[in-house]
């Protein structure tokens, strides 16, 4: 509860600070607010409190809240020199990001469909706006409108799903829904099943799983890079937490029913994400496809439900989030200097900017899943989970896709280190350095000694 309140209040304060043109104070205020929220998160650890029967801040919720808050914090640090040059509505942007974060906190800790719905929509509406904040930029416009239209469309399905489940169970409460499933395991209302499927569709859309992923590449590419960072990391993590809370929790008794379509979705997602990413010439778009493929890996945790599923998602999401933040941070730097986000603009980056290039290399290795990085541990846990029920073919398929992944992740490594380029020297602001170092440190620590996070939930 405190977390949401803190974040909301921070948002208001920032909004008002913007009103009073206190531009310099925005970032410190935000950071203080987020750190406070983080403090509350840690403070509530093991509390497992239920708020108004609507929110449950169990460790699952807190852990994901923590990741979301830290991720957002890092992204805020990346705002240095980012918005200021283009606009003087920085305070509004900050506010919207914070609102979105508040929505995500709701998504990771809901106990009632209403909370899920409200949280999801707070987040989505904020993102629709954030995607379009480059008002004069066609790409940004397009991204915003596409996201909005498709997002609203998918919300319809999500709502239909919620309605059907309500119709079947007479309640929006997750526990009651689960109790309904357990009590009536022989006579579940036939409208419950389509309800589950429709909710799955709605959530798949939010996390960008095929065939509901189509918005992802376009929106990621068109949005301002920083917003893309936010969308592809924190937002995605929250989406998965919501997905997991529902399906690994309430709908778990129906696992046999929804696992088959989910498997199809996983395979499609992996295949389309990886294979399409292969041919991309644009780093940002490649990252968008890569985020699709990571959605596929993350969904592995739902294919075999175990006590570890939730924690596995946490590890994977953490690995993915921090690696992606590095990638996008470097992308922002490169784009600021070269004006392009194609692979070519990374050529020869390693010569003049070893720190940046090294960070990006670590990030790419982690995304590709090379041992000693967090990404490997994440993938390993996913494979381990699925192998637990000997879904070997699925794992083999995922491995083949991971191989394709190596190709495109290494493209940028190749460009940075092995190709000759313009030898540009990036101007890396201090905050970027902090973000890079922190993210690299987290990536490596989780990769080498993941024990610290393995039993968190």
């Amino acid at each position: 509860m405190n977390i949401i309140i803190t974040i909301s209040i921070t948002a208001f304060i920032v909004l008002y600070a913007g009103l009073f043109k206190a531009k310099k104070a925005l970032l410190p205020l935000t950071v203080v607010g987020l750190l406070t929220a983080l403090g509350f998160t840690i403070g509530a650890w093991n509390g497992n409190a239920v708020h108004f029967g609507m929110m449950q801040t169990d460790n699952f919720a807190l852990a994901f809240s923590g990741i979301c808050i830290i991720g957002t914090l890092l992204i805020f640090l990346l705002t240095q020199n980012y918005f200021h040059a283009k606009s003087d509505n920085v305070a509004e942007y900050f506010t919207l990001i914070l609102f979105a974060l508040a929505g995500m906190i709701m998504m990771v800790s809901y106990k009632n469909m209403a909370m899920l719905f409200v949280g999801l929509e707070i987040m989505s509406v904020s993102l629709y706006i954030l995607a379009g904040i480059r008002k004069r930029d066609f790409a940004s416009n397009e991204a915003s409108l596409k996201y909005f239209l498709m997002g609203a469309f998918s919300t319809g399905f999500l709502l239909f799903g919620i309605t059907l489940i309500y119709g079947a169970t007479g309640s929006f409460d997750l526990d009651k829904i689960q109790a309904y499933l357990v009590d009536n395991s022989k006579a579940i209302s036939p409208i419950f099943y389509p309800g589950v499927i429709l909710m799955m569709i709605g959530l798949c859309f939010k996390v960008g799983a095929a065939p509901f992923h189509f918005w992802t590449p376009d929106v990621y590419e068109g949005s301002p890079t920083l917003i893309t960072t936010f969308m592809s990391t924190v937002v995605k993590t929250a989406g998965f937490a919501a997905f997991l809370r529902l399906f690994a929790g309430s709908f778990a008794p129906l696992h046999d029913f929804w696992v088959v379509p989910l498997m199809v979705i996983v395979c499609l997602t992996l295949f389309i994400g990886n294979v399409t990413a292969l041919f991309q010439k644009n780093f940002k778009r490649m990252l968008a496809y890569s985020s699709i493929s990571h959605a596929g890996y993350l969904l592995f945790s739902l294919i075999v439900l175990s006590a570890k599923s939730e924690n596995n998602v946490l590890v994977y999401a953490a690995a993915y989030t921090f690696a992606s933040i590095i990638a996008f941070a470097v992308l922002i730097l490169v784009k600021q200097k070269t004006g392009s986000d194609s692979f070519e603009s990374f050529n020869g980056l390693g010569k003049k900017n070893p720190l940046v290039a090294l960070s990006l290399t670590v990030a790419m290795l982690s995304l590709a899943g090379i041992p000693l990085t967090a990404g490997f541990i994440g993938k390993y846990l996913m494979f381990l989970n699925v192998m637990g029920e000997y879904q070997t073919l699925l794992v083999a398929f995922a491995i083949l896709n991971a191989l394709v992944g190596f190709y495109y992740y290494f493209k940028v490594i190749v460009a940075m280190w092995f190709k000759d380029g313009a030898e540009i020297e990036l101007s890396t602001p201090g905050q970027y350095k902090v973000v890079l170092l922190v993210s690299v440190a987290i990536t490596l620590i989780l990769g080498i000694y993941p024990a610290i996070i393995l039993n968190l939930i």
């Binding site: 949401i4 929110m55 509004e92 929509e121 706006i129 379009g132 480059r134 059907l164």
Partner: protein, 167 residues
């Protein structure tokens, strides 16, 4: 006899909603949509959900649709210039829709849920009842939906106002 009212209104709902999507002129679409919403209001009344009926009438027909209309007028889109999609896409779209409705209804196995709708509590849809519910168990989402509205407000302002720096 009065069950016939439901079927009559339902038929109207369907017809009007079809008109919404098939009207060439967006303005007409909006107007048909208002009609559709009106039929919905009737449905709410039939279900004795008076509060919703009122809210639907005010918010949807009064506010939202007026906003639509306003924007259409603002953008001067009252003509029928929208280049329509090729007939093929339309046909495919309709077929896809039909498939959707068939599978949707089919997957409900709705035929099995044929218990008649009985209003057990006359006051269910009244403001009092709903208010208790809304400010009782659903207080938190209610409060938090203020964030939603605020975000939308900020966003709408942000997007609509002319940006000096960029201009």
């Amino acid at each position: 006899m009065s069950t016939q009212v439901f079927y009559f209104v339902a038929t109207l709902s369907i017809i009007f909603s079809l008109m919404v999507i098939f009207a060439k002129n967006p303005i007409h679409s909006v107007l048909y949509l208002i009609l559709t919403f009106f039929t919905f209001t009737v449905h709410y009344v039939l279900l004795n959900a008076q509060f919703l009926a009122v809210v639907n009438f005010i918010v949807y027909m009064g506010a939202i649709m007026v906003l639509f209309l306003f924007v259409l007028m603002l953008l001067n889109l009252n003509n029928e210039t929208e280049p329509s999609k090729s007939p093929l896409i339309k046909i495919v779209g309709v077929i896809a829709g039909c498939c959707l409705v068939v599978t949707l209804v089919g997957s409900f196995k709705a035929a099995s849920i044929n218990s008649p709708l009985i209003l057990k509590n006359q006051g269910l849809g009244l403001v009092e009842n709903l208010g208790k519910e809304l400010f009782g168990p659903f207080l938190l989402p209610f409060e938090l939906s203020s964030l939603l509205l605020l975000a939308a407000m900020v966003g709408a302002v942000l997007l609509s106002k002319k940006d000096e720096v960029e201009a």
